[in-house]
Amino acid sequence: MSDAARWLLPSMFDHKAITDAIAGPLVEGKAGKRWWIAVLVSLAVTGIGVLATGISFTYGPGMWGNNSAVVWGFPIANYVWWIGIGNAGTLISALLLLTRQKWRNAINRFAEAMTILAVSIAGLFPIIHLGRPMYFYWMAPYPNTMGLWPQWRSALVWDFWAILSYLLFSLIFFYLGLIPDLATLRDREGPRHWRRIWGAFALGWQGTPGQWRSHQRLQRVMAVIATPLVCSVHSIVGLDFAASLMPGWTESVFPPYFVVGAFFSGFAMVVLLALVIRAALSLEALIRPAHLDACAKMLLAAGSVMLLSYGSEWMSALWTGEAADLRFLRFSFTGPYAGLTYGMILGNCLLPQLFWSPALRRSVPVLVIVSAGVLVGMYFERILIICNTLSIGYEPTAWTLYVPTLVDFAILLGTGGLFVFAFLLLSRIIPLVPMYEIRELAEAAKGDAR
């Protein structure tokens, strides 16, 4: 079995078939009952989150579990978690594009979509978590009567720029890839007004060699920029903590370790989405076991790296023998949050080890369990990073534990709903698999088949 053919069933060797398989389910086709149910459920869940946020805005952050010592809680954890999930999309499209991984074609489009949604949601939390959210824009540099400018030394300002740049950049990258497919939709039989909209966004794409050349060139250029950008964004998120002087935060390993963690959770989410989309849009011909296998290997690698970085963190504490760090270590393994710690290790480090077995790498249930486990484990890690350090700082007299409230959970849940809802809408108006790249792949596959 040759390379390209591994990623595509012969049924997809015909360009028309590709177009129909991918463009078919869009608005032209009927949205099934399942879709409507999913939309309603996700809307309801989103509503819960909106309500909870409304409560927080009305009565104040006091509605959450935060306290004088643990001033940060769920909102920041949510932010770090979501932005982490938002990491994978761009990495997949950029990194795998640069490394010429053919299998990326089937998954990169919805991975990018995932990135944009996740990053947008993540971007909400720095605002939600504020004591006076109505003044969030004070973080932006604009001429004001006070003559004040943002504090460029603040990691939160770095965040502001990182998120902004990352979001907009990913959006452009996403759109760039979308243009030829929009042209396809424009030229295809279908609802008039939608074709107009697609046509408008297709910017008059024709598919002449010159256009293709520029398109390919810019895609590569952006990929080259995107890869370091993604890493820097997550390093900066890591700096939110590392650029402090609290025990358990001042870790030089944090930036890289946040990048890996982000990539990790992002990939777990990609796997889940891939499985869902595959089943929902019956794209088994495009998303092959080989794809799942490749993703599983990614998870395995990342999971092992996580284990290493945790290990290095613990070892450095043991080696330095810094009392605060040791106390911190003891606390995380024997303290009240120990359960979370073990859950984190289980989800992030142990579960992915299942993927040493090729069979399990291709088994859908195992993939679901492990990816879910990773997502949960990563959330535990995020919340632990915050609570461990803030609960037991330098001053024992200020030690306080953190207990989230219903409102905290409701907000987290709501963002999940929002994510699903937005994704469902996208799945109806844009092709979740890049058609022109699949055509290319099909051509190659045909070549191999001969």
Binding site: W161, L164, G207, P209, W212, R213, Y436
Partner: protein, 171 residues
Amino acid sequence: MTALALASFADEAAFRAGVAKADEAGRRVVGLWSPYPVEIGAIGEGTAAPITWISIAGGLASALLFYGFIWWTATQSYPFDSGGRPLHSWQVFLIAPIEFGALAAGVAGMIAFIVRARLTRLHHPAFDISEVERASSEHFVFALACDAGDGGAVLALLAEAGAVHSRIVTR
């Protein structure tokens, strides 16, 4: 009175062959449309290299400008003591410009791409040709310039080249 011969091919190989044939026959290819990137010799508008440079330049320039702005706000416009840190804390001032520079590079690149690919022309005459519409999904299409007179010969040539469909349009 000139005419245009339009040929559609079902797959890339046939398309390449067709273009080659037309070339040998000394026919001038005046248009190529493919559903995914296909490189055929020197045919088609020039190089895309400038996009790289524009993008890089845009990114660097914006980053520098941004750093300058930060330096100005922190040391000139409104300098004050913040935790006894130096007014010009260049190490940390670098971070925001880098992020912003990346974004700017993307934007610059996008603009360059739009200009170079002659996009945003929603009403291009090519769109009046039905073949071009199918070129965005399954067909590979090219157009040859020819005189109304030798239309038959051209069609024969194209058929022989394996075009699934070809015709002459006169204007």
